[in-house]
């Protein structure tokens, strides 16, 4: 167990954006909420999954919907607690702790605000080790934990308690509810036990995000390359150094899809890298050859600052380093790849782990 204070949250938000692989939403709003909660209620107890009692109830908390809506229609503040309490009531017991469903992006910070205000611990783990767009895309789902009962709430005071036949239905129904609620909602879902967390979660990701953010901050202060530090911590690879020369966006089947083209700089001069994205970066292709694909992480960093560029922020003229990072092993089984592999996102390619691609 250790304590997360205000400065840990600042670092964590930067690391979370890097793990967000271009999506997951800007952690800025969530960071302000988490910092305010810590200022008022004191630091948050961060517990290792192994410290959680097997029978303890753990409830993940998150924001759902469009990050663009979240930055405009800020939460009222009470929504997420309303959903948390609703699940506790439904399950007839108090939760021991909360946990992040998604360590990449804004959903790394929402559970911190919950933990601080409810004075409960936060588990140092999450359900992705990155960011993904849909509710069933969590390791909890792979381990047979059900997303429901799930509670959703908006700032107006509306709340919904969902019971569904499977996690795909949960995704469909909750997405529709989120739209009616105004494009964003706060949610509590995948209630689970301590022993499930030990088995089904991606461990240590909150600490990892914090360490990534700290490394970026410190290397900038000491005028070292932040990119190298990020690669060391994530066992990642530099895929490319280049300038964005074209960004094309289109809406396909309700999702913002697109492609960004990078022209090589320095040792990559003469090369072209393309990234295909759908909210997150999904496939990176260098000179016609795939160098990384989902579920491995692909993140675009600004050369100077090491700070991540989101898919919405991709703009002509940026000078960037593109990095690839191995995903958690849980995502590499045949079953898991059916949920989050390249084929699920519409790319007819086989998944090859980035480590193997880099060898060859």
């Amino acid at each position: 167990m250790r304590l997360l204070d205000e400065s840990s949250v600042e670092d964590l938000a930067v690391g979370a954006a890097i793990l967000g692989t271009g999506g997951g939403g800007d952690p800025y709003i969530g960071k302000l909420m988490a910092v305010d909660a810590i200022k008022e209620c004191g630091p948050v107890e961060l517990v290792d999954p192994h410290e959680v009692p097997d029978e303890a109830l753990i409830i993940p908390t998150a924001m759902m919907g469009a990050p663009t809506v979240l930055v405009e229609k800020l939460p009222g503040g009470g929504e997420v607690f309303q959903t948390f309490k609703a699940l506790e009531r439904r399950l007839g017991r108090k939760a021991y702790a909360t946990i992040s469903a998604e360590a990449g992006g804004v959903n790394s910070t929402i559970p911190i605000a919950v933990a601080a205000r409810l004075r409960i611990p936060l588990v140092d783990a999450d359900g992705m080790g990155r960011a993904f767009p849909e509710i069933q895309m969590v390791t909890f789902h792979l381990h047979g934990i059900s997303a429901t009962p799930m509670a959703m709430a908006d700032e107006k005071g509306n709340s919904v308690l969902l019971d569904t036949v499977d996690d795909f239905w949960t995704e469909r129904i909750s997405r529709a509810v989120t739209i009616v609620m105004g494009g964003s909602s706060l949610i509590s879902l995948y209630p689970m036990y301590g022993r499930d967390v030990k088995e089904a979660a991606v461990h240590g990701t909150i600490t990892l995000a914090e360490r990534i953010g700290r490394a970026v901050r410190e290397s900038l202060r000491e005028k070292r390359s932040p990119v190298q530090e990020v690669l060391k911590l994530t066992r990642g690879y530099e895929l490319f150094k280049g300038k964005i020369v074209d960004v094309e966006r289109r809406t396909v089947a309700g999702f913002a899809r697109g492609e960004a083209v990078f022209e090589g700089l320095e040792e990559y001069k003469g090369s072209i890298l393309k990234i295909r994205f759908q909210n997150e970066n999904l496939v990176a292709i260098r000179d016609g050859e795939i160098v990384a694909s989902v579920p491995d992480l692909i993140t675009v960093l600004e050369v100077e600052t090491g700070l991540p560029v989101t898919t919405e922020g991709l703009r002509y003229g940026y000078r960037t380093v593109v990095i690839g990072m191995p995903c958690n092993e849980k995502w590499r089984t045949e079953e898991a790849l059916k949920v989050v592999g390249p084929k699920y996102f519409g790319y007819d390619i086989d998944y090859i782990p980035i480590e193997e691609r880099m060898k060859g």
């Binding site: 302000l32 229609k73 700032e155 809406t251």
Partner: protein, 527 residues
């Protein structure tokens, strides 16, 4: 003949130019910037009219790029105490207004805010009806406190401004007559906190702008051009008439660099390329895209506050004409300190004791300065190797900044403007890497003032369109029409208005029923 005057107020110099209707340069002068700014402007006006030997009554318009507002924010001086009304309850209460403001700026603005019920969803539905009683109570409170200006910011007002407009009507009936009210949908785009911040700054600057405009008017009358129309240049390189400028003063904060990029484009006839503006203290490098400065894509901080303002994408390096040169072991370092206007007292060639980039250019023999007080003989003792290294350092610093602004490996033209341009050796022009040609146009030292004088008038729309009631094509058409209307409203000749920028971004993680469209239109000033 109808003439125009362009004025640019920089940190070191205030420049003024006169252009005729064919945009030919009639006269140009440089005068020192004064601490009060206005005296320097009056001086520049008088001098340029004398230099052009023209009849002041022929001057139809004066275009001014000024730092009054920028300085007021940076120095936290002369800002109005404002009342901030946010409309969005029960949403938004998780993060209060001024949450990420620097403490001293928050104090300067008075830290008076209210959150009332109302606001809209992304698709134009109401979050809640506007609570008019709450608005009234907030208004009474503001009146009691005695706020000098008001900013109103409603959730999703770029999609539906109704609640902001209604709240303004209510407050008008309560506050002292003439209290300026800023509506956020006229200031910024999606991103509540950033738009609210920019709106608060705007409201706090209105008095600053009023004082400045009054002083300009006086300076104009003094110079015999009291009848000419006055325009201010804004961040995107286009003009606002006075009425507009007094409503949106925050739009002037980055106009200086923009004017020099626009001026460089005009002086060379180049529409695309890189502009290097070498001043006394800094060199600013910007990109020219279709005749306008490329805009920065990231959230921009003004005086330590995050805003979602569109600002030109710029790189500043400490390599100006007055930049101090130091030898460090085997290397040469430039700045960041600069002698600025003290160059002519403290520079080596002027008999002072400080080595600057200008001294290096003089010693290397590629620059000449016609100033009797400047004597390059004083530089004889300088080590030849040091001179050579310093020249290389100057060239490589600029070369690197240019490369960072480039968007492709293909060589691009570079336009060199600004008074400090002499520190780049002409012999090196064709050796600068990644550059097709270096153009140093005639009148390069007046690029900013010329940029102000030739500025066009623009209108802009940035909002989320719901595609449930209308098609994408129709939404785009509507956005374009709105932008054109805005441009005409701002003073553009209707028949010259063209769409200059279109951007479309679907909302992530939401099925595709909403899209953010941003359109800008610009046209010639109707004189």
């Amino acid at each position: 003949m109808t003439l125009r005057i362009g004025i640019d107020v920089g940190g070191t110099h205030t420049d003024a130019v006169i252009l005729d209707e064919a945009n030919r340069l009639v006269a140009a002068v440089k005068t020192p910037t004064t601490p009060d700014v206005t005296t320097g402007i009056a001086e520049a006006l008088k001098k340029v009219i004398a230099a052009g030997d023209i009849d002041p009554s022929e001057i139809e318009a004066a275009m001014l790029g000024t730092t009054h507002c920028t300085n007021a924010i940076v120095e936290r001086r002369r800002l109005s105490r404002i009342g901030l009304l946010r409309i969005g309850k029960p949403a938004t209460t998780a993060i209060k207004p001024y949450r990420a403001f620097p403490e001293d700026l928050k104090e300067a603005l008075g830290d008076v805010w209210f959150i009332v019920k109302g606001g809209h969803e992304y698709d134009g539905r109401e979050i809640a009806p506007l609570d008019e009683e709450e608005v009234r109570r907030a208004g009474e409170e503001m009146k009691k406190i005695g706020v000098e200006a008001v900013a109103i910011c409603s959730v999703f007002s770029p999609v539906c401004p109704d609640h902001e407009v209604r709240a303004m009507e209510i407050l008008r009936g309560i506050l002292e007559p003439g209290t300026p009210i800023t509506l956020s949908h006229e200031i910024g785009s999606i991103g509540l906190l950033e738009r609210e911040n920019a709106s608060a700054l705007n409201a706090a600057l209105i008095k600053v702008a009023e004082t400045a405009v009054k002083a300009f008017r006086e300076a104009m009358r003094d110079a015999g051009i009291g009848e000419a129309r006055l325009y201010l240049t804004q961040n995107d390189g286009t003009l606002m008439n006075v009425e507009y400028a007094l409503k949106y003063p925050v739009r002037t904060v980055a106009s200086g660099p923009t004017n020099s990029i626009r001026g460089a484009a005009y002086l060379t006839g180049t529409r695309n390329g890189i502009v290097v503006d070498i001043g006394g203290t800094t060199t600013l490098v910007g990109a020219l895209t279709d005749g306008f400065p490329r805009e920065s894509a990231v959230a921009v901080e003004i005086g330590g506050v995050r805003t979602n303002f569109r600002m030109p994408d710029l790189i500043a390096v400490s390599c100006g004409g007055g930049t101090i040169v130091r030898e460090m072991d085997d290397n040469v370092e430039l700045g960041p300190e600069s002698l600025g206007y003290r160059l002519i007292e403290e520079g080596l060639a002027w008999g002072g004791g400080t080595l600057t980039t200008t001294d290096i250019a003089l010693a290397a023999g590629y620059a000449e300065i016609r100033d009797p007080r400047c004597n390059p003989e004083r530089l004889r003792g300088l080590d030849a190797k040091l001179i050579q290294k310093a020249v290389q350092k100057i060239v490589s610093t600029v070369e690197e900044a240019v490369d960072r602004m480039k968007t492709s490996p293909e060589p691009v033209p570079v336009i060199l403007v600004g008074g400090g341009g002499i520190i780049i050796p002409k012999a090196q022009y064709d050796k600068i890497k990644g550059v097709s040609q270096v153009i140093r146009p005639e009148h390069f030292q007046y690029a900013n003032a010329i940029g102000a004088a030739i500025a066009e008038v623009s209108g802009e729309v940035d909002r989320i369109f719901s595609l449930e009631q209308e098609t994408r094509a129709k939404a785009m058409e509507e956005a374009k029409e709105m932008a054109i209307r805005e441009a005409v409203k701002a003073g553009a000749k209707a028949e010259t208005v063209k769409i200059v920028h279109v951007e479309e971004i679907p909302l992530a993680y939401l099925p595709g029923n909403a899209v953010r469209i941003r359109v800008k239109a610009a046209g010639e000033l109707a004189l």
